[in-house]
Every structure is written in structure tokens, then in C-alpha cells.
Symmetry: C2
């Protein structure tokens, strides 16, 4: 059970859903009452509000989903107080039984990559205590090794950027002389690393970030990367639908976690929920949006298989 992807499979199966809640706090989108306009210029007050907000989200989603993904950028934006809040949020999520993927898109070469790996990878063996980290591949495949090494040692995982959900990502789509696009080269490398580090569930420690706005590419990458768990962003706010992400799953309903950040955490401001829940009921709105996304994925994707299974 200590292999990261086995923990992930067990979590997804026990909750019966691959929904991954993204924690992307923004000062101007917090529910009323969490941050006064006067306090929104003070990073210490904003960081405190982020803590309250993210803990409140964690408390309502922890019974429904297996994984959360804090976005490092929004905490870094506040300077040191934001980093304290990030550490607190990660710890709280862990205490609530959630797996934590830190979205930091880090990388560097050699001993510096080791520094990032040791900073983030491993609940009990790293400074920040995340279970997994997103990693950028531009610095070369050799730079993934320190992360995979730390992941193997500390029951953690890595999600490498393969195909992102923004539309103008031309670099990833450059066609190379063998006919493959750049992202397909990255995919092949990640698959090799994943295959070499498979757990009992069949998936390895090298996962892939595959954007939800490229439905054909998700299907293609699923077949090219049978050993990589997919982290699929772009669902909801960025335009991805359940139909788009269906191909990310294997026939067991495993192999993919589907991220929604703004659509869930700022549900209090969505018209579907704002009318039903009052200003102080933002946590109920978060819970309703989470349940709705779970239901939608169960109805329209192989994630529906999860509720009838009890192991992988």
C-alpha cells in the first residue's frame, strides 16, 4: 500500500470518484466575510483568509474525494505569509485523509532538482509534505530522475507536464523529424519511467499532466502511456467536459484524476449555486458542486465503474 499510485488507486476507489479539487485561492473571489476590502492589501490577512478558505473546502470535500491540489503560485504571490499558509493547508488536507498533489511545475538540473524533490516529495520526508508534485520537462529527461528517485524512496509521485490545456502551447506541438510532436517525445519518456516503477495497481510513479481541452490527444496519450496516471486539468472553467475526459480512464475507471479548481472552490458565485445557497453557505455550495461533478463523471465516463468495484 505504500506505493503512491496504489494509494491513489485505493483513494479513488474508496471515494468512488476521480475528482481532484484544485485549491487556487484568489483574494477577489473569496466568499464574503472571509476578507474585508481593507485587509485585502495586507498579505498576512490574505494568507489567513486563504487558510480559512482552503481548510473550509478541505473539510467539506474530504468525505467525497481522495485528492486535492494546491496551486503554489497563489500562495507564493503573498510572499512568506503565503508559504506558511500553504504548509498549513497541506498539513490539514493530510490530516483529513486526503492525498495532496502540489502544483508547482518545478524543475532544474542536477543537485538543484534534488533540492526541489526533497522540498516537496513525501508526506513524512519532505519540508512541505506533499504526496506528489507537478514537474516541467523542458530541462531534459535526466532532470526527472531526482524526482523519481525521491518519489520511490518516500512513497510519493510525480506528474510531468506532457500536454497542457492552454490553446497556444505551440512548443508542445512542434513536429519533429520522426513525425512525432514534442509532447509525444515527452510522453514516451514518461511512459518508460512509469513502466519501470509500476505499483500493484499497474501504474507507475511518473504520471502525466494532460489537458482536458484536447479530447483526441487524451485518447491518443492514454494508449501511448498505459503505465502513467493522468492528472487532467481544464475541466469546467477551462472548457473541458466529461465527454472530453472519458478517454483518460482505463476500463476499471482508474488511471485518471480530473481536476476542477474554480468551478468548485468558487461555486458560491456560480449562478447554479448562488441562488440556492446564501452568502454564508459557501461551503454547502462547494459540496454541491463537488457532488455534481462526481455525478457527472459517473454518468458519462468509465469512472462510473468505480462504485461497483472494491479493489483494483
Amino acid at each position: 500500500m505504500s506505493h503512491f499510485t496504489d494509494q491513489l488507486a485505493a483513494g479513488v476507489l474508496s471515494k468512488g470518484t476521480p475528482v481532484l479539487v484544485g485549491l487556487d485561492p484568489r483574494p477577489d473571489r473569496l466568499p464574503a466575510g472571509l476578507l474585508s476590502p481593507a485587509d485585502s492589501q495586507n498579505p498576512i490577512h490574505v494568507a489567513n483568509a486563504y487558510e480559512v478558505f482552503c481548510k473550509g473546502i478541505i473539510d467539506v470535500v474530504a468525505t467525497h474525494v481522495a485528492v486535492v491540489k494546491p496551486q503554489a503560485a497563489f500562495f507564493e504571490q503573498l510572499g512568506p505569509p503565503g508559504m506558511n499558509a500553504l504548509a498549513t493547508v497541506i498539513r490539514h488536507a493530510t490530516e483529513q485523509g486526503l492525498l495532496v498533489i502540489l502544483d508547482g511545475k518545478r524543475n532544474d538540473i542536477g543537485s538543484t532538482a534534488e533540492g526541489y524533490a526533497e522540498a516537496y516529495l513525501g508526506r513524512d520526508h519532505s519540508a512541505w509534505g506533499a504526496d506528489a508534485l507537478t514537474v516541467s520537462p523542458y530541462l531534459g529527461y535526466d532532470t526527472l530522475e531526482p524526482f523519481l528517485h525521491a518519489a520511490a524512496q518516500h512513497q510519493a509521485g510525480v506528474f510531468v507536464l506532457v500536454k497542457t490545456s492552454n490553446l497556444a502551447g505551440k512548443l508542445q506541438d512542434l513536429i519533429t523529424t520522426d513525425g512525432r510532436k514534442v509532447y509525444q517525445h515527452v510522453a514516451a519518456q514518461v511512459q518508460d519511467q512509469a513502466h519501470a516503477s509500476r505499483g500493484a495497481c499497474g501504474y507507475g510513479l511518473a504520471g502525466a499532466v494532460v489537458g482536458a481541452t484536447h479530447a483526441e490527444q487524451i485518447a491518443e496519450l492514454r494508449s501511448e502511456m498505459p503505465s502513467s496516471w493522468f492528472l487532467v486539468p481544464g475541466f469546467g472553467s477551462q472548457g473541458g467536459t466529461a465527454a472530453d475526459v472519458a478517454a483518460a480512464f482505463d476500463e476499471r475507471g482508474l488511471g485518471a484524476i480530473i481536476n476542477n479548481s474554480r468551478g468548485i472552490i468558487f461555486a458560491h458565485a456560480r449562478k447554479e449555486y448562488a441562488s440556492q445557497y446564501g452568502a454564508t453557505q459557501w461551503q454547502q455550495a462547494v459540496e454541491a458542486a463537488t457532488r455534481d461533478m462526481i455525478d457527472q463523471l459517473r454518468a458519462e465516463t468509465p469512472a462510473g465503474q468505480l462504485v461497483t468495484r472494491n479493489s483494483w
Copy 2:
């Protein structure tokens, strides 16, 4: 004078050197006396030692060089106490009249990239107060825009990873159907952005990270990217020499800053300096190594031009 590259040109010219000192602290390589073995397991004590060490370096190099580059990974590795130390080190460098390039290799899409840009870019307008940030291009050229926008607004700069100094960086060297390598596509994009944002010195806000272990590529990229300031890592410890980096400069001796991290900050442990300076004289060793690198670049590269000029 507010344009970042003009500040950089003025700084390099006033100090007469393009040497960039990298601040990459490691617990096991600190000079004796800064951190006891017992304290090296406590991140608060390690962070305090990093502060003392980096401030001590800054205090001796500030009269000799114009720019320092803290490596975010090693501070992040300590968790929140490390981030407090990073903020203190950046502030101290600024107070000593240095420009600060934070080496974080950040990026993301859309509003998340804006978050990183607002976190780091701008001495008086960002949480961390850096003058420039290193940025990864894998997420696509559109993701560079929030950084360049923030740089233009806040008198800051960006250095995009183009060609890194590790040897196995195969992704950057993939050959595309038009005969260009992936890094050459990135170079063309960065050059366009740099050209569009030129300051009085002729260089634009989009700089490039170009590794020192690829001498021919430095020459090629210099001619392909006439508007981009180069940040050249890999000098010294990673094997780059003055001859390797000579082609990074323009005929004025401008256009490149040459980074040395371990070779300078851990000079107390290099045999050239250890015999000359005692255990407590690590700051003198740092200063001697800095002077030696300055002399070497003056003798063997166009940086020698700088000492006879008084403007760009």
C-alpha cells in the same frame, strides 16, 4: 534608467564585470562555524545559517559585481523558514545595491502565470521583490506574456530557459521539420519579445538562459538573439570556461552575465583558496574567488571592454 536591461547594463558597466554570483546554499557545504552538525537537522537553524551565509557573501561581493542570483530550490527545501530566509536575502541584496535575479524556473498558464509574475517581479511591486525571474517555456509562448507584462510595468526582467547546461537535455535538441531544434524555436520567440521591449541599451525584457557548456551554441544564439540579454550558467563547477562564454558578449562587453555559484560561494573549500585563507576567513575566500573570475573574464572575453567604457 528604469528599464530593467538598462539597469543591468549600468550595473555591469559600473562594476566593470558581467560576473553574476549565484546564491546556492547547502547545509553540508557551509563554512565551519555557521551551522553545527546538531543544528543541521533543524530547518529553522539551517535557514538562519543560510541567511548569515548569504548576507556575508552579499556584503563582500556587492562592491565587485552588479547582480546576484538566489536559487529558490535550496530555500524551498527548508519549508517556510527557508522562504523567510529567501525574502531576507533578497532584501539584503537590494539594500546593498545589487540587482537580484531569482532562479525559480517558474511558469504556468493564464492567471496562474500572472500569480507567479506578481509574486516575484518588481522590487517595489511584488511580494518577494526580485528584479528578474527565470521562467520555463514548456507551457507555450502565450505563458510568457504575463511575465513580460509584469516586467514592463514593474521595471523588472525575465530570463527564459533556452538552452540549459546539462548534457542530457534531449528535449531541447529535438529537431523539428523545418530543420530547427526545439531550443531554436524558443530562441526565436524570446528574441521577438526582446526586440519588442528594448531599452536604451538595445536589449529587451525577455532574456535567455544559455548554458556555458555549449560554446558553439552560445555563438549561434548570440547572432540569432541580438536583443536578448543572456544569463549564462555552468561556468566553473559545471565545466564552462572563459573561452566558452566569450561569444555571449556583444562588442561593448555587454549582453551577457556569467554565473558562478559553487565556485565562488564555497571558495573556502577550494584548494586554491583553502590554503591561503583559514577556516574563519571564508568571506575573504569568496572575495578572492570573485576577483579571480572577474580578472579571468576581463582577460579572455569582451568583458575586458567594460573597464574602458563609461556608458553603453
